[in-house]
């Protein structure tokens, strides 16, 4: 995954994912949690997460738990990067100005 700041194709689902992360930029969210909050199907959600991670807007890491003691497998958690936070804010600001980014 490249960590370059690349242009991301915006779709309605991508905006919904970004909006969810923008509510609390420091929060770590798994794919299951994003699905619960946005209601986006897995077939659409994971390509978006990987696309944003590949563009450098997100970073991901494994959940720091012991699967045997937790009784479940560890999850992959996503978080906005500073670049992602800046770009996502710009996108939503452009919407507020009525200009599509």
């Amino acid at each position: 995954m490249g960590k370059k700041d690349r242009k991301v194709r915006m779709s309605l689902q991508t905006l919904r994912v970004l909006g969810e992360f923008l509510e609390n930029p420091a929060e770590l969210l798994s794919g299951a949690e994003v699905h619960q909050r946005c209601g986006i199907a897995s077939g659409t959600l994971y390509p978006i997460l990987l696309r944003l991670e590949s563009a450098g807007w997100f970073v991901s890491q494994w959940e720091s738990i012991d699967p045997s003691s937790a009784g479940r497998p560890r999850r992959r958690l996503y978080r906005l990067t500073s670049t992602g936070l800046k770009r996502a804010s710009e996108v939503f600001a452009s919407f507020n100005r009525g200009v599509l980014a």
Binding site: S30, G31, A32, E33, H35, Q36, A41, S42, G43, T44, L45, Y46, P47, L50, R51, E63, R72, P73, R74, R75, R76
Partner: protein
């Protein structure tokens, strides 16, 4: 194959077809997120969605396509877009059939499970057992023949005499039937014959012209209709008059019947020895146009 193993198999299948660098990570991530799903359908939808996600991820991780066509034909982006679309349609169709087949499997599973439940709920069908015939080839014994004797039956003789007596006044005859059981002894004197006078129309009887049907007047229909009426001693109808002989025109016959009904109470009753009695007789009504 249980539902859990189906969803795991789908996720394994999807992750195995993902780019090599992401295969293990996606499988672990998806299996972890699968555990967050509670319902069976939700887990199944998630697993099928992962298959779809793999296709998209594989497509996005492919090296950029190079247009083989001349730039004069069209922009490179357009050619690449067309290429994407062809691939997308094929992928979409395959996923559609995959989802369709899964639905069929699920529906079949539900139906077979339900039919098993229903089969247990329905009691066993009744067992029909034919009773063996004790004497299949033997006929029942015949009853003894009854002892019949010829008994003569005597029927008393019925004597009927029909006598017609002319009406001394108007030539109207009256039919009288006398039945004699047993025969009457001969009378020394001649029988008394009542003097009968038939009835007819009396005072105040409606005018025929008032009941001449207007349509018949316009069409010039004329004719005579014979109506049979039954009146009591006071000249009132005792039953509805009927047409005894038609005029050939239904309208004239209907007009005659209306006239006969309207004349109830104005008939002259028949008399026997001067006393009015109930009687039935025919009444001729003629409809004729004047020049």
């Amino acid at each position: 194959m249980s539902q859990r193993s189906v969803t795991h198999w789908l996720i394994h299948h999807a992750a195995r077809h993902a780019p090599e660098s992401l295969s293990e990570r996606l499988e672990e991530e998806w299996l972890a997120d699968l555990e967050a799903r509670t319902s069976m359908m939700s887990r199944l939808r998630f697993a099928i969605g992962c298959c779809w996600a793999t296709q998209v991820i594989v497509f996005e991780h492919q090296p950029e396509r190079v247009a083989v066509s001349s730039p004069a034909i069209g922009p490179k982006s357009l050619i690449a877009y067309a290429d994407q679309n062809f691939s997308f349609v094929s992928l979409r169709s395959s996923m559609f059939f995959l989802v369709l087949s899964l639905h069929i499997v699920l529906i079949y599973g539900f139906m077979t499970a339900l039919s098993h439940t229903n089969r247990n709920a329905i009691p066993d069908p009744l067992q029909n057992q034919a009773r063996p015939r004790s004497r299949p080839n033997e006929l029942p014994p015949l009853l003894p023949a009854p002892d019949l004797k010829h008994v003569p039956i005597e029927v008393p003789k019925l004597e009927t005499e029909l006598r017609y007596e002319p009406d001394p006044d108007g030539g109207v005859t009256t039919d009288t039937v006398h039945e004699h059981l047993p025969p009457t002894p001969p009378t020394p004197s001649t029988p008394h014959v009542a003097k009968r006078v038939e009835g007819g129309t009396g005072a105040g009887f409606p005018d025929t012209a008032d009941f001449y049907p207007s349509v018949s007047i316009r069409l010039g229909e004329q004719g005579s209709s014979t109506v049979r009426v039954c009146v009591d001693a006071k000249g009132r109808l005792t039953s509805d008059p009927t047409t005894a002989k038609g005029s050939g025109s239904t309208r004239l016959d209907e007009g005659a019947l209306r006239l006969a009904r309207a004349g109830s109470g104005h008939y002259r009753a028949a008399t026997e020895d001067g006393q009015p009695v109930n009687s039935c007789y025919s009444l001729g009504i003629r409809f004729q146009l004047k020049n």
